[in-house]
Symmetry: C3
Subunit: 468 residues, 3 copies
Amino acid sequence: MHPDRLLGTEPAVRELAREFYGEVADAPIISPHGHVSARMLAADEPFRDPAALLITPDHYVTRLLHSAGVPLEALGLGAAGQSPPPSGAAAPRAVWWTLAENWKRFAGTPVRYWFEDTLARVFGLDVELGPARAERLYDQLAEQLARPEFRPRALLERFGVEVLATTDDPADTLEHHAALAAAGFGVRVIPTLRADAYMDPAAAGWAGRLEVLAQVSGVDCGSYRGLLEALRRRREHFRSHGATATDTGVVDAWAVPLTDGEAEAIHRRALAGETSDQEALAYRRNMLFQFALMAAEDGLVMQLHAGVLRNHHRPTYERFGPDTGHDIPVASEFARPLRELLNAVGTSPRFRIVLFTTDETAFSRELAPLAGFYPSVFVGAPWWFLDAPAAVRRFRAAVTETAGFYKTSGFVDDTRALCSIPSRHDMSRRLDARYLAELVADHQLSEDEAHVLVRALVDEIPRGAFRL
Amino acid sequence: MHPDRLLGTEPAVRELAREFYGEVADAPIISPHGHVSARMLAADEPFRDPAALLITPDHYVTRLLHSAGVPLEALGLGAAGQSPPPSGAAAPRAVWWTLAENWKRFAGTPVRYWFEDTLARVFGLDVELGPARAERLYDQLAEQLARPEFRPRALLERFGVEVLATTDDPADTLEHHAALAAAGFGVRVIPTLRADAYMDPAAAGWAGRLEVLAQVSGVDCGSYRGLLEALRRRREHFRSHGATATDTGVVDAWAVPLTDGEAEAIHRRALAGETSDQEALAYRRNMLFQFALMAAEDGLVMQLHAGVLRNHHRPTYERFGPDTGHDIPVASEFARPLRELLNAVGTSPRFRIVLFTTDETAFSRELAPLAGFYPSVFVGAPWWFLDAPAAVRRFRAAVTETAGFYKTSGFVDDTRALCSIPSRHDMSRRLDARYLAELVADHQLSEDEAHVLVRALVDEIPRGAFRL
Amino acid sequence: MHPDRLLGTEPAVRELAREFYGEVADAPIISPHGHVSARMLAADEPFRDPAALLITPDHYVTRLLHSAGVPLEALGLGAAGQSPPPSGAAAPRAVWWTLAENWKRFAGTPVRYWFEDTLARVFGLDVELGPARAERLYDQLAEQLARPEFRPRALLERFGVEVLATTDDPADTLEHHAALAAAGFGVRVIPTLRADAYMDPAAAGWAGRLEVLAQVSGVDCGSYRGLLEALRRRREHFRSHGATATDTGVVDAWAVPLTDGEAEAIHRRALAGETSDQEALAYRRNMLFQFALMAAEDGLVMQLHAGVLRNHHRPTYERFGPDTGHDIPVASEFARPLRELLNAVGTSPRFRIVLFTTDETAFSRELAPLAGFYPSVFVGAPWWFLDAPAAVRRFRAAVTETAGFYKTSGFVDDTRALCSIPSRHDMSRRLDARYLAELVADHQLSEDEAHVLVRALVDEIPRGAFRL
């Protein structure tokens, strides 16, 4: 990996970018949103093999192989819910080989960048993947993974992670978070409540989930009021375990309040299995509104991830489950959908909402203007498909002129690929350094200010946005 | 302020940009659309204080402070309609101080650029704002504002403004415009008719406005036909006072004709307070269509500003009135909404329409293709949130390949901040010089042509587009 | 024309781009989609005059002149369907002169670039157009067009075209394709089936077209089943003449199956002239779905061009016919509209679909994510208004990070302007070389890989995508 990678092609810009990047290259990592599992950290077992660590569970990697005609079975994926994969799934070494053979297909993608950066940074293997080196790389990785310093916790400590937020079901007891805190682990691992599964009364398994939640919370969820109360208590439980935020994922951002009577009626019909699509939608949009009211009360930062159509290919979903590479973004709007919510709590001092989109047209059109007025609104870092060099540069160019730097969230890695965390944060730091360098070289910003900003972007800004 | 600011970071491009910019740096300013008040120019009184000049009335500035948690009261804003602000509003020096304290939040925004450029260009104060210099700057500015050469008219003459278009209600008598013309003021100040307030029969106060219009025009506006006739007469009145254009602001660009009978029926029901939302919408969309027919008759250039949801936060609107920083763009389309209008008058020799959007996706998708076929259609300069360096560069890159330079409007400052006019035009000139330099350096355009174009963009092109 | 045109302004990037471009500057041309006429190639007659070759039939050129107020008659266009133009249309030399006079209006557009590049590359006339040179250029061109080496076939051979796909009605006998194959023409000219005219039962002339199709195919098209069967046979006929693909143009990409009974009922009502708009829409969306099923059976690559509102200005359409410069893009989506289609055949091994859009927001949001999962989906090259330097660069920047290079289609010239083919492909090669150079200079890609990719983009990639 070249030391100047991503720092720009114009010598004057690159020189400044190098300087700014140098200031934060080794700064501690704050990871306020992601999908590393607390259970895995609590267990702290060695990773099974290179494919299980770097390929099979990472839908960024598997989807591109699938798009080249590789069946998901050949990448170690098994039937939905099964882990480890059933017999019949490909052997790890074969999975690794499949990736190596198709490596050219990743040229120009951030997946390749993170992968190679991870090999170099985490494992000291600074070579290109590809058929010629595949076998030897596999062996070298496998050997390292057996060592204690490559167990999950040791890695996170080595990475300099200061805070790591997980994403958790409200019914989670948070026992693993408690265990980690008790174990004196050097990383502050905090939970994030994600109640998506309780919003849609038409979703399969909704009633069953309510029962589990009722047990954990001690509140009967047979009524709408009960469900709200149970969620309130779980939020409090999460807060007592260090949570500072919640997360919600929705196809669209509409938040529209119902009366208690309307919501209660839908709730009861849903439990009886009689709810219509329209009622379910109304219920979901009301729940989003209610989550905002709760946030305005308890001060948990509300993250909203809007605009992804999940599980686009039903046959793949039915066979392999969710998060298998075919969630596809759709056009998104925010100004109209969030109007009632922001009229209700947008200037409430305890309320805070971080808005994430995969429709980049919303950055300059809606997110930056909203964040540039409402004290509660922050523009979330480029999410998912947009978390890549060119897209990140478009994000800053689209947002900064209207909302500045201080109303953005700071970088969010959003990853379940533990080993890629430092590479992802490093990429972001390089790109922010470059963006600042471009402003300085174009005489839109002073060098002194850029020095302050590049530090703020990895420290003051994410700490502030997520109330860490 | 660095002399090469905004001219690019690549040495070869910057050198060319410098050359092209040099040709137009001191060219006269043509301002075909803006919100400076003719009454204020006719009165020509000194500005009250630095905050009242540069902060309180400028929602570009106040919205970002509000987004940081500063209440609008602390910025000198009073209850809606009140001017000067009521007792209880913050003192000017405190307002100034609040801005200085929050100056870092403006890094990377055009607001900061215009502000500092204005301080340097207009007041000779070439320093960064910030807590350390705030007091002294305030005093220096206050002292200068007391001098005759800082009165509004003297400033505009010093700025080299040749034409300045104001924005005015059809019921305006234009007495201030007449007074300015009679006074031999060196700037040609021309009115622009904006009849938005008469388009929506469901808006509060509509009937009252019709009565005022009836008095001024001498035509009874109790009927739809009467309203159209009154507006036609006012257009003629505006034309006789030098107007060359009208302006219309709408949430969406749909123009759909009603029959006279349909429109008449809605008009009467609206006067009786009985109109439905749907009827009001139909009435508004018909009015937009009628405005186009009028424009095709009298040759006033029709400006259309579409796609902003006004007064997003109702509590702020109710307390402080409109234009207080929470107008938010929404997704906009033009091809379908304007089809009937353009089928009716799009190739009419007297008709001309300049289309402005805050949804930049429309630039390459709809506006440039429309302007690249219809002789009457021009693409308006980047508007509002898009009037900033990176957005302006995206605008030229999105529009030029499909519509060239000659079907764009030339720069429009659209400002109520009188002192920022030269800074805004200067920014535009720098960015156009840079865009041309990039084309020349990439061998897509000859240097000779670029010289012609950079001049045309501040002279022939806006004069042509706005029939000045 | 400068040898480094379009290769970038930054010296380090340009040097690399020059190197990559050099590898493919003279590579054979693969043109898998376009509108050159097989009949014209079979006849191989000399072009009539410079205006008839370069201006009158090219709506890219005529629309911009029209937008400047030049009537289409003055550009040689006659009433719809008439060819050659009727008396009364402008003389070729006057048409040429009109373009020369308005040449400045094309500055910054690809039309000007292709035009001048064509004059230099094809005719050896390396000068700028404009009033001063217009007469002499016309004479020089006219003289050359009379020579045998400027007949259509000789030109295509000189251009190094290896494969040229035409676009043809299913009822076409393909006799001209057969004649070209028999004549031993050095270019492989293959047909492409485009059945748009049979999709919309509400379109004027639909029933008549069915009758012609019935005659040619030998299948009665009085029923929906008959029409499907006739189309299937024509696809087979096309395949036997070398076709590897079909094309479909739609306003929106919705593909929604009907039952056979529903479709049959609409078909019969339509033949009786009784179909509603809603039924016609349902029929069209079902046909798009059926085309996909056919493609999954016979393996013809399905091209889909979605999102253009045809013939926006009805008066021009009525007078001059289609393809006269006023087709305007509209906002487009793909993830939802194509979901049923891709659930049905998206992972089918024989199915392949290339998606083209003129709404560039779809590139990063929907097309790249779809192509990055479905083995069957490819992102089509920048289409129409987007086939221009800045837009092409945005395309690569929007698509590559999510879908890589190998799930894009390779360049498609889509032109009816035969002489512009080499200029268009050359432009694309320069821009791809530049994009790769930027990645290499930014250390995101190795130089070796870029060498492989720049070749693949003009050879392996289009051959693969279009099954050539």
